[in-house]
Amino acid sequence: MTRAEKAVTKAKAAKQKPAAAAKKNGSNGSHPVVQTEAKATLSTQQLLEIYRAMLRIRVLDERMMTLQRQGRIGFYGTCSGQEAATIASTYALRASDWIVPALREAGAMLMRGFPLVPYIAQVFGNSGDLTKGRQMPSHQAGRSVNQVSWGSCIGSQLPHAVGIAFAAKLSKHDTVAMAFMGDGATSSNDFHTSMNFAAVFKAPVVFVCQNNHWSISIPTHRQTASESIAIKAVAYGMPGVKVDGNDPEAVYAACAAAVERARRGGGPTLVECETYRMGAHSSSDDPTRYRDQAEVDRWKLRDPIDRTRAKLIKAKGLTEASDTRLRADLLSEINAAIKEVEALPNPPSSTLFEDVYAELPWHLQQQQQEFEAALKRAGGDLGGGH
C-alpha cells in the first residue's frame, strides 16, 4: 500500500469511527508529532470562560444563518463545530499578541473585547462597520484587538503573520502572532512560504490549522497525501502537534505551549486541530451534494459545545439551569445588537473613494466629482435598487 493509499484508508477509518480513532491516539485524542512541553491546564473557571465564548459564537452563527435565509444579510460562514479550536487556541494569547484568522475565527475578536455591534455591523456592511462595508461578511478586522481580517484567496494571510511576528522580534517585543488556516490552505504556496520563512527567521508565530476535513467539497485526503497536516512541520524544521480540535483543554494545552515557546524565542510551531465543519462551507454552499449525512451525524456526537458543557456540568462549573440562563442571555444580547445594527444606514456614498490612498489623488478627486454629479443627475438612484 502506498503512503497516499494509507492516508486515504486512515481518513476513511477516522470517518467511520471518529471516537475510536481519537481514542487510539491517546485518551485525549492528541497525537503529538513532536512531544509538547509540560501541559498547561485550565481551571474550571477558565473552561467556563472558554465555553461562554464558544457558545456566544454558536448562538451568533445560528442567528446569522437565519438572517441570511431571510435575506437580511448577503452571506455568512459559520464556525459551527470549530468553536473549541477557535477559542481555546486564542485563549492562550495575551491582548498584545496578534490574531491573523482564516474564514472561521473572526469570533475570537469578541472574546478579546471587540464590541458585538460593530462586529455584526460588518456582516450587514453598514455604517456601524469599522471597515465601512467594503468586504463580504465574515471579514471583520479590529485594530483595537490586534486582529486583522482574513484573505479570501486562501492562505494569503499567513505570510502577514510571519511579518508581524518577525517585526515584533526585530523590535525586541515579546509579542506573538497566531495564524489560522483550514486544511485546504495547506496546499497553497503561501502556506509553504510562510512555514519556511517563519522557521528560517525563527519568527514567534503559531500556525493553527483547523483540519475540519472539508475544503468546500474537497476532503482532506484530496488536499494532501501526508499522513497528517502536523507532520508537514517536520520538513520545515519546526514542531508539529496534532490535537483533538473539539477538546478545548487539548487545544489550549498545545497552543499555550506553542505560544510560550514562540515568546521565549524558540520559533514557530504548527498545531493541527482535528475538527469538523458541521455546517455548510458558507451560506452559498450545499454540502448534501458531496457529503454523507451519516458522517455529519457521527461528528455531531463530538460537538465541542456539548462536550465542554458536559465536562463543566460534571466539574460543577455549570448546571442545566445556569446553562439555560447563559444561552438565553447570549441570545438576548445578540438580538439586541442585531436590532441596533439593522437600524443603521449604509455607509455614506462619500466613503467609496476614501482609504484607497492616505490622501485623495487627482484622478480619484475627479472620479468622485463625476460620481456625485451622476448621482445628482439620476435623482439619487444609480441603479441596483438602493
Binding site: K132, A141, P159, G163, D190
Partner: protein, 326 residues
Amino acid sequence: MPTLNLLQAVNDALRVEMRRDPRTIVLGEDVGKFGGVFRATAGLYEEFGPDRVIDTPLAEGGIIGTAIGMAMYGLKPVPEIQFSDFIFPGFDQIVSELCKLRYRSGGQYTAPVVIRTPFGGGIRGGHYHSQSPEALFIHQAGLKVVAPSNPYDAKGLLLAAMRQPDPIIFFEPKRVYRASKGEVPEGDYEVPLGVAKVLREGTAMTVIAWGAMVHEALIAVEKAAEAGIDCELIDLRTLWPLDIDCLVASVEKTGRAVIVHEAPRTCGLGGEISSLIQERCFVHLQAPVKRVTGWDTPFPYTLENEYLPLAPRILQGIEDTAKFIV
C-alpha cells in the same frame, strides 16, 4: 557634489533613510552580505547588520507578504525583488493584499511598503530579465508607481517614497544602472512624487518617456531638433498618479504627443496617457497621439534591440507625428 551612477544613488538613498529611521528594513534575495545581484544594497549589511538587512529564502510572495506584516506592525520594509520579471509569484500579495489593506480594513491597517525592483530590457536578459510590467501595477487601485531615469531623481524619489504612507512599486531602469551618471547631493533631499520633469522645452510636439527610454528619447529629440522639429521632452518620473497638469499644459502648447515605453503596446501606460490627453486636450490636438513602444510579443533575447523603442524608432514616430496634417 559627488558624481554617482543610478545604482550608487539608490544605495545612498537607502543608507540615508536607514540612518535616519531605525524602522527602515531592507529584505530580499541576496541583499545582505552579497549586497544584491546589482549591488544596490552593497555595504548596508556591514553598517546596519543582519536584523535590518535581511537575506530571505527564495520566494517573492514570501518577501512581499512578510513585508506587509512587518509594515502592519509598524516597521518600514523596503523589499527588493531581484528582477521585476520575478515579481509575479508575489503578484497576489501585491494585488489582493498590499494595495487593498487600507481600504478593506476601513483605514485601520496600512502597509506603506516600498518594493524596489529593476525593470526593462537592454541587458541581454531574455524575457525573464527584461520586461516592463508597470501597467499591471498602475491598474491596481491603491498603488503608486515610480520610475526614475537618472541618479539625482533615483535618490530623491526613493527618499520621498520611503517617507510617505502608501505602498509603492519603485521601478529602477537597470539598462542605465551604471551608464546613467550625474551629480547627486550628499545627505538628505527629496524629489516630490507626482511631479514630472520637463527635460527639454519645445513647441512642435510633446514626447513623454520614463526609465531607460528617457535616454533614447533624448537622443531622438536632439536629432529631431537638427531636422527642425522642436520637441518638448517630459520625463514622467512618477508613473501613477502621474503629473496630469504637466502633460496637459505641454500638449495644449504643442498640439501633438508621442509616448514612448518599453512595455508591449496594448493596454500599456501609453494607452492610458493617450486617453487622458484626448479627454483634456481634444480641441488642441493636431495629430493622433502616437505610441512608440515594445511590440505585443514576449520580450526576445537575440532581437532585443529590434523589440525596444530605441532612438531611431522614436525619431520616426516624431517625424510622422510632425508631418501629420488634419
